[in-house]
Structure formats: C-alpha cells, structure tokens
C-alpha cells in the first residue's frame, strides 16, 4: 500500500539531505517512467475539458441571458466585452456579429473563452446566479461564437485602417504582445513581433494545460490572427541586452515589451537541484509540445509545490499521465490560493490531494534523486505566516515547483526602465519611464497575471502607442 499522504517526521527514520550529503543508495530507484497507462487512455484524458457547445446548447444557454442594463458581466470583464450583445447575437443566429462584438474588445476571445477564470470574472456577477443559483455560461458561449467564425478570414471581421507606413515592434508573442500587434495592425500600422521561442503564442502555446486549449488551438488562433495582415512574426529572437533594444527602438515608431516572466522562482531550500525536481512551467511546456503524451515520464508519486493555476495544471496533468498519487502543497490557506475555487475543485475531482499551510523546507534525496519533501507547518499569527514547529514529509518520485515566475531583470539593465517588485513599472496604457517604450502583460507591475488582463494591456498599449505616434506626426506637420 502506497503512503497516502503527509507523514509526521519527528519519529520517522531520517532521510538524508542529498544536496549537501551524499546519500546511501536508495532501497528502490525512483519510479519515474512513461506510458503508465494503456495507450488509448491519453488522447481521451487530454481532450477538451469543456467541449464546444452544440448549436442547440448555445441557443438554450443564450436564452438564459437577461440582456441586463449596464451589465455587471461586462463591467467584470477586464477587456470590457459587451457580453449581453454577443449573447443576444448568438440567440439571433448572428454568429459573425457575436464574434465581432467579442473580438473588437478582445482579439484573443477564443483563448480567453477557454482559460479565463470566469467564475471570478463575468460569471461571478451574473444576475442569474442570484435567481437560479447558476450563472449564464458566458465563457462557453464566447467560445461557441468565436470558434464559429474561425474558418473565415479575421480581416472580414476586424478590417484594417488605411496603411500608415509606420512600423512598430512588439517583443513577446504571448497574449499581451499579440493583442498589441493586432491593435496596431487594425490601425493601419506594420508590426514586427519578436519571440524567443520556436513558436509564437507565449503561455497560450507553452503554459496552459493541454485540455484547456485542446486541438492545437493556440497555433490555430495565432495563425488566424496573423491573417489580419501587416504583422510579421520573428521567432527564435531573444532579447538579451539594452543595445539590442536600442536598435529595435531606432528602427520602429515605438516598442512594446510583452516579455512575460521567463524565470521560475527557486524554492530556496536544500535539495532543490536533485534529479527529479523540475519547474512546473517547463513540465507543462513539454506536455504541450509532446505529440504523444504516452512518451512523457511521470513519477508514481508527485508533489507539486505552489497554489496557483500553474500548480493545478501541473498536478492535474501529472494525474492524467498516470501518477498514482499527486499532492499539491501550498504554504498558506485555501482562501489565499492563486487558483480559483473552480480550479481547486477541478484538481480535487481529478484525484489531486490538496494540502495547505505547509512550506517546503527541504527536498529529501536518495541516490542523487529526489525521494521526498519535508515541509514545515505554518499558521497565520501576528499578521504574518509563521512556522508552528511541526514538520511533515511526503514521499515523492518527482517534485514540481510552481511557486511563481519572475522577470530576468539583468537583460533590462541600462534600458532606463524602472523596475519594482521585479516587474516593469508602466501605467495602464503601458507607458514606461522611457519614451517610445511601452510594456504590458505579466512583465508589467500590477494585475493578477491573467491572460485576459494581458490582452487588455496589449489592446490599450496599441491605442496609446498609436496616439503618441499621431501626436508626434501632428506636431511635426
């Protein structure tokens, strides 16, 4: 019988800290291997978590919308989508009109429909909840409308203004960068989008659970958005220093930095660099890029450290890959978790065991490989998190770190950009301390690191960059 959960360590046999002290050969090698489950299992397990509505489902759900005055859902949407309008248009069989309403506010409406935590945004404030205990399923309706038009050129929905002859640069082809590029393209500009990865899409392509954007959706949406025209995507281009940025700045009317956060926070505990310890972001990226999930090795027992959506995505997918036990461990309480209640429920229904008030203290090793994690129990006292003095240990074949990401501050040295809390200071329109340099998405200070907020950042920045250019052009004339 496998060890099912945290074990008190006070009296248990000590496990040696491998990073500092070579350990004895383990009694059993870590159990990490691919293809834990029957071959046929994987396609089903990683399929669409919430499949597209059928037409009749969409019509019935659309009928539940009350077309509220000054609709709370629209106010709650970071991109301000006119939700009652697009739902009404679905009900009216006007899917192009519905999609246009969505895309004008949010060009990545297809992704946001899939990944937005709607339960804390639009659907949280839906008045149907008060009446019927269940909101209108706005996210699923949004997906229905956008998916319905993706076989048509986006230029027929979002036409471009007359060409201005101006070039703008966007660094990072994630949600913020793409929203900015589409916004600039709509205004008639040419846009060069640069991304370090082999594919564009940023976290849409590399950072989300497979079942959230099934069917290679991130690339399909990216290709569709690029169909608007005027946008050139340069992949494999990594921003490395201030000089490179200066060149970019000189060649373009303005530059938008949508760098994301490409470094993962360290646990800062002994044993962190043992084999078998991975960062969850890379784990998820590998999952997304693997055509055959059966080829991915997974531990029999997995411990995921962190309380956000990345932690949930890593934990649930570990389970789907065939891990027997997956423990998701967070140092604070359930209310402070970055993962919404719906995400937590999603993890629980997939058999992930959630633990709270446990902070990692050491990754325990055996034979140079992670064998477990020791945690110090925490409590909230005197306005801060404090160790209670008790410890718990969980056995693990694999440890995934998901305690947040950060910006590689070094590459911004000498750019003149002001950083705070490891992120770039910029106003809501993306204006930084440096004229002509704009920033948004996760690399900008503020926000909840939501995809939909990144889109709004990019959308607003495009308007601000355009306005700055137009003002300058006007002054010159």
């Amino acid at each position: 019988m496998a060890i099912a959960g945290p074990q008190p360590t006070s009296t248990a046999a000590p496990v040696v800290l491998a990073a500092t002290t070579p350990s004895a050969p383990p009694a059993t090698a870590p159990d990490i291997r691919p293809a834990r489950l029957p071959a046929g299992h994987y396609v089903q397990a990683f399929a669409d978590a919430a499949p597209r509505y059928s037409r009749s489902q969409a019509l019935v759900e659309a009928e539940r919308c009350l077309y509220c005055f000054d609709a709370p859902c629209t106010t709650a949407c970071p991109t301000g989508i006119d939700v009652p309008s697009f739902i009404r248009r679905i009900a009216d069989d006007n899917l192009r009109g519905a999609a246009r309403t969505i895309l004008e506010s949010n060009p990545l409406g297809g992704t946001c429909a899939r990944v937005c935590p709607t339960e804390v945004l639009c659907e949280q404030v839906c008045v149907r909840t008060a009446q019927q205990g269940k909101p209108v399923e706005i996210g699923r309706l949004q997906r229905f409308a956008v998916d319905a038009v993706m076989d048509q050129p986006i230029s027929t929905l979002l036409p471009r203004a007359a060409a201005t002859g101006q070039r703008f640069a966007v660094v990072g082809a994630g949600p913020a960068g793409l929203a900015c590029a589409v916004g600039l393209a709509r205004l008639g500009h040419q846009v060069d989008v640069f991304d370090a990865r082999p594919k564009g899409g940023g976290l849409n392509e590399y950072g989300l659970a497979t079942y959230k954007t099934a069917g290679n959706f991130a690339q399909a949406e990216l290709d569709w958005l690029l169909g608007i025209g005027g946008i050139t995507l340069h992949t494999g281009w990594r921003l490395q220093d201030a000089a490179q940025l200066a060149t970019l700045r000189a060649d373009h009317a303005a530059v938008y930095l949508a760098l994301g956060l490409d470094r993962v926070h360290d646990l800062g505990v002994p044993g962190e660099h043992l084999a078998g310890v991975r960062d969850a972001v890379a784990f998820i990226a590998d999952l997304r890029q693997a055509p055959d999930k059966a080829t991915l090795p997974i531990g029999r027992r997995v411990v995921v450290i962190g309380g956000g959506m990345t932690a949930v995505d890593a934990a649930v997918q570990s389970k789907l890959l065939g891990a027997d036990e997956v423990h998701m461990v967070y140092r604070r309480g359930p209310e402070q978790m970055g993962a919404s209640q719906a995400e937590q429920d999603w993890a629980l229904t997939h058999g992930v065991v959630l633990h709270h008030w446990l902070a990692p203290e050491a990754v325990l090793g055996a034979g140079g490989h992670a064998a477990g994690v020791r945690f110090a129990r925490q409590r909230w006292a005197d306005g801060r998190l404090q160790a209670t003095g008790t410890h718990e240990t969980m056995a693990a074949d694999m440890v995934l770190k998901a305690i947040g990401q950060k910006l590689d501050a070094a590459l911004l040295a000498g750019t003149g950009l002001a950083l705070q809390g490891g992120r770039i200071q910029a106003d809501d329109d993306g204006r930084t301390a440096v004229p002509g340099l704009f920033a948004g998405g996760d690399c900008r200070l503020g926000g909840r690191d939501l995809t939909v907020e990144a889109v709004q950042d990019g959308k607003r920045a495009a308007l601000a960059m355009h306005a700055a250019w137009a003002a300058q052009a006007h002054a010159a004339a």
Partner: protein, 437 residues
C-alpha cells in the same frame, strides 16, 4: 373531487376538453386513442360533400413560431378538410360513437353554399348517431377560395342562411364555428343566433405567413418553391380569442349564446380563462399535436385541483364569473391609482425594469442609489403602467400597489378619492355627461 362533466348545447361529455376539428380527429384510429387518453369529446375533422375528396399538398402543411429552445408559441397550417371518402368517415364515426357512448361526438361540416348540398349531407351525418354538428365557417385557406369556410364566415347573411338550413334539415344541435378574420366578431355571432344556432365555437385560425427564409428569400414554409397563407393558432392566439369570446358574452344580442372556446389552450389555466369568460367548454388542437393525446390528463388534473381548491363543485360554479369584470375603457375608474413596488430582497439587479422605463416609458425607476447599482420606483414619476412588472424576470419581484383612498399620489400631488370616476364624466372629455349631484 370536482365534477368536470359538462352539457354543452345539449351535448354531454365527461369533461370540458374536446379535440377540435383538425388532423387529430381525422379518423377512427386517432379518435379511439384520444378517447382512451381521456378526451371528453371530439369534433370530427371537417367532412365535405360526396364525391372525389379534396387533395392536400405533398409538401409542408405546417409551420411554427418557436422559442430558441423550440417551445412552440404559434402554429400555422395549410391543410384542407378531410381528404378521405365521405362514406368511410361516416362509417368510422358510427363505429367510434358506438364504442364510446359517453363521449361527445360532433361532426364538422363544410359543403358548398347551396341548400341542396346541405340537405344532402345532413341526414347521412345524423344517421351515424353523432351528438351534433359544427359548421366550419372559418377555414381561412384553400376552401375559402372555393366559396366555403371563411368565405361564408365573413358574410353574416350566409351564416344565418346556412345555419337555418341545418336547423331545418336536422334535429342535431348546431354549433357554428366562427372565423376571426373579420372586423367585429359580434356580427357573425349574431347571425348564427338568428339562424337558430345552438352555440358558436371560436376562434378558427387566423390568416398568417410564418416568415421568410433568409437564404432563399422565399416565404416559409413553401411547397414547390411557393407558399400560401395558412391558418394561425397555438398559444399566441389565445388573447385574441379570449377577447372575441368576451365580446360575444357582453353583447346584448348574443349574451347567453353557448360558446365553445378555441385557441391556444395548452393547460388548465388556459381552459379556466375561457370558461371564466363564459365558454361552456373548450376545444384543443395544437397542444395535442405537439405533445400527443396524453396532455388532456394534465388539463383535467389541473382543472380539477383548481376547482377543489376554490370550492367549486362544477364547471357552472365559475363559468362566466370574470365576464362582468370586462368593460369598455370609458368606464374604467380613473381614480384608482397604482404604483409599482420593487421587492429589494428578490431583485436580482438585472436592471431591465430601469431601462424599459427609462427608454420607453416614464423615467420612474432609478439605476443607482448613493453610487451603487440600485433599482427603485420613483413614485413621483410612476403612472402604474405595469411595464416593469412585465419585463422583470423574477415572478412577484415587482408588483403594483393600489393606493388607498386618502393617500396622496406623489406624481400628481392629489389625494386619492374613494369615489370612482371615469372618462364619461371627466372634465377633459368634450362629450362628458353631467355628474349626478
């Protein structure tokens, strides 16, 4: 248990729910199943004169007005009278009546507008043992082009003439079915009464075109690329029919004439509407065509429970009870003052009341209070129009409160009078009558 039995125009049936003359009553197979399910009676689908039967189109006969989740609101048809041989129908009517002696068996008839034609068919029908006949003066499509159906029903003199022939050549009770495609229902009803009709039934279907196919830009439905207007029925027509039933009940010339109510009856509440406005029974078609014959069991159950809860022993206990509450606008009490009231506890904050009132009525509902989303009636603007009650998605959340005499109407600043006063004596009415001292 309430007693649902009725005697209508001398015809007895175990409950007031009859199937109307229509496809569900076209042949023995259907009618037998209907009686098994519990229908109180049927009006057999309209028979025509002897000879080659009519033919129907071979494309769509029906069209519908549907909600997005495909609940049927309105229904349209272009089917004609029975397309089966007369003698076959008569034989089956005879057999079914013998099998179900306690059920009402009424036969609908439509023959050319000649005395000979009616004289020929009436004895054959009477010979089946049926309980009565219904004269189809309402069918608005196809047959009307041939001088029958609504073409007769739209000319009161024809109605009177044919009704008189039927009373002359038959001993059966005669029910005259009226078309709503006229300007004043009281005229054909009065004509039927003059001709000696035992009752009228209404309404038949309303001329209708269901819509246009947006891709082909043809009307819908079409058969062979063309369409023709049909007859409209179903839930959407009930209010039109109820008004006509009440008009007949209120008119001095037709008051007391038995009325069989038809139009949009899908449940016991609908039946109650008709009966409380004076109908002696009701006829149903659309609901059966959507749900099947079993639906009558929900109708009888609902009506029976209602009557028990109200202490009504029989249909007659409440028949016509609402009729005296129907009057002409000029007699409405202009001193009765209502104000909308929003129950803040059940309000879900959708704001529909606000925007409806703000955009289209009297700007009498707030949208904010102290900077917060809040919907509240402004008594000094509210005229009590009921629009907010109508658009509110929450039942009973918004109600109309009638001010008591002595209260002040915040809109006009006037004290509510205990004495009713209507337009006939209103100072703004140039035709006003002097107020009795």
């Amino acid at each position: 248990m309430a007693d649902l039995r009725t005697t209508f125009a001398g015809i007895r049936s175990p409950n007031p729910f009859w199937l109307a003359s229509a496809p569900p009553t076209d042949k023995a197979y259907n009618v037998h199943r209907a009686f098994e399910a519990g229908w109180g009676g049927v009006v057999w689908k309209t028979l025509g004169e002897e000879g080659p039967p009519v033919v129907n189109v071979n494309g769509p006969r029906y069209g519908a007005l549907l909600t997005p989740d495909r609940k049927l609101l309105g229904f349209n048809n272009i089917e004609l009278i029975t397309d089966r041989p007369l003698q076959l129908n008569l034989q089956e009517i005879r057999e079914i009546k013998r099998l179900w002696p306690d059920r009402a068996m009424v036969v609908s008839l439509m023959v050319p507008c000649t005395e000979a034609a009616w004289k020929a068919i009436l004895p054959m029908v009477e010979d089946t043992g049926c309980d009565g006949i219904e004269l189809n003066f309402g069918c608005p499509h196809g047959m009307s082009e041939r001088g029958m159906g609504a073409a007769v029903g739209q000319v009161p003199e024809y109605i009177e003439m044919v009704t008189r022939w039927c009373k002359q050549f038959s001993r059966l009770p005669v029910i005259v079915k009226l078309t709503p495609n006229i300007t004043d229902i009281r005229l054909p009803a009065a004509a039927a009464k003059r001709g000696g009709a035992d009752a009228v039934s209404l309404i038949n279907t309303i001329n209708s075109i269901m819509g246009v196919d947006p891709a082909t830009l043809t009307m819908s439905p079409v058969t062979g690329g063309m369409g023709s207007h049909g007859g409209y029925c179903g839930p959407a027509v009930k209010p039109i029919a109820l008004n006509m039933v009440a008009e007949i009940g209120r008119s001095a010339t037709t008051a007391g004439l038995p009325v069989s109510g038809i139009g949009g009856i899908g449940n016991w509440r609908d039946a109650l509407d008709y009966i409380a406005l004076g109908a002696g029974n009701v006829q149903v078609c659309t609901a059966a065509m959507v749900y099947g014959f079993k639906i009558v069991q929900e109708m009888t159950s609902g009506l029976s429970d209602y009557m028990d809860s109200m202490g009504f022993k029989s249909i007659e206990d409440f028949r016509g009870r609402a009729l005296p509450t129907v009057t002409d606008w000029q007699y409405l009490n202009l001193n009765a003052i209502s104000k909308a009231l929003i129950d803040q506890d059940s309000c879900i904050q959708c704001g529909r009341c606000h925007i409806a009132c703000e955009d289209t009525s009297h700007q009498a509902i707030t949208s904010t209070k102290d900077g917060q989303r809040h919907f509240e009636v402004k008594d000094d603007e509210c005229v009590g129009c009921n629009l907010c009650v109508t658009v509110c998605p929450v039942p009973e959340c918004i109600t109309l409160r009638t001010l008591a005499p002595g209260e002040v109407d915040a809109r006009t600043g006037q004290t509510v009078s205990a004495n009713p006063a209507n337009w006939t004596t209103h100072p703004n009415n140039p035709m006003r009558k002097p107020v009795a001292a």
